[in-house]
Symmetry: C2
Subunit: 207 residues, 2 copies
């Protein structure tokens, strides 16, 4: 049983190159191809591939749209995104939409085959440079937090949903002090409501 592959790419030459490459492997079989995702669902219905090699920039209906449509109807079909540039924006859009991998077009042929195999096995294949960007997302960015230790603590507790009273209780300080800290937090962050403070916390401070 070979891995069934469908190729989306608007560049004829590139499609041919890919087909030639994939033909070298006995385990891979290109079941179909298209220049854009206009008929993506019909094509999935008809060929039901294991892995889709998806170009991002294509006329009419692009790869991101195609990815969404595929994943909506066939979440089990693996989609391996290929693009010429390592555009962070798009990478994350694809990831959020369930892409199984993200490789660059100038990848070595061997790596492309490897990537297909990896996603077929249920893993995620990523070009190391892209993987690095993804990992960077997890690294707590040390933004210069202007708040003091206690102010931070108050903000964290408020952001967990506590009221001033609860915070006072939890920290073993008086309600008045919590009030003071909150005022200072608002001053320092240039805001004037709890909602804004919590929004700031989750967007900038939450680890």
């Amino acid at each position: 049983m070979s891995i069934k592959i469908f190729i989306y790419d608007d560049n004829d030459q590139r499609r041919e190159s890919l087909k030639a490459l994939l033909a070298l492997s006995d385990d891979l079989k290109v079941v179909g191809e298209a220049v854009n995702c206009v008929h993506v669902i019909a094509e999935m219905d008809a060929f039901y591939p294991d892995v889709v090699l998806m170009d991002i920039n294509m006329p009419e209906v692009d790869g991101i749209e195609g990815l969404k449509k595929i994943k909506l109807k066939y979440p089990e079909i693996k989609v391996l995104i290929q693009t010429a540039f390592d555009d962070s924006e798009k990478i994350f859009t694809c990831i959020k939409n369930g892409a199984s991998g993200y490789i660059l077009k100038n990848e070595k042929p061997q790596r492309i085959l490897q990537a297909i195999d990896e996603v077929y096995q249920g893993g995620a294949a990523m070009n190391p440079a892209i993987a690095q960007k993804v990992l960077d997302f997890f690294i707590p960015k040390e933004i210069k937090n202007p708040l003091s230790i206690k102010e931070n603590e108050v903000l964290a507790l408020l952001s967990e949903g506590m009221s001033y009273k609860m915070v006072a209780d939890h920290m073993g300080i008086s309600y008045a002090t919590v009030n003071t800290y909150t005022k200072r937090i608002y001053e320092k962050l240039h805001i004037c409501s709890l909602g804004e403070a919590i929004a700031y916390y989750y967007k900038n401070l939450k680890t």
Copy 2:
């Protein structure tokens, strides 16, 4: 100029295997090794490797501690984590602490060499299964959101820091309606304050 590597692993046999493997490549040079991270900083000071191959489970001072210490003093040294199990907890701890890669011990030798090369080049190397776990983190998990369209909209705006008035204005509805929606949100989420609502939003609903 070959890539300088330092190995941390408490298993003697495994260290020998790794050294034998790395010796096969002219580009790689093992500059040192240790059974745990007790003297990690002294070792980095002395050998200043390009890449550290780090086992996680080691006696006394483990790989995660070692990783933290290395990254604190030498953020430019790449640390490639190796472990027997794909323990999600630890994966994320390592990622947050700046690990450049995460591979499994039973990886094929070729893949280990490839991983070292990738991290040396500034990329991130991940076993596909692990990469998949990382990517899963980005996929919005469809939790059954009990709120209606409008309630969701109100909550989203409140979570951006708007007051009831601003929300009313922004949505073109009356203050009273915002009040009503908020009450229903609290009922449905079993909470009773703005802080809790926003906390819920950022933890469960925010895309």
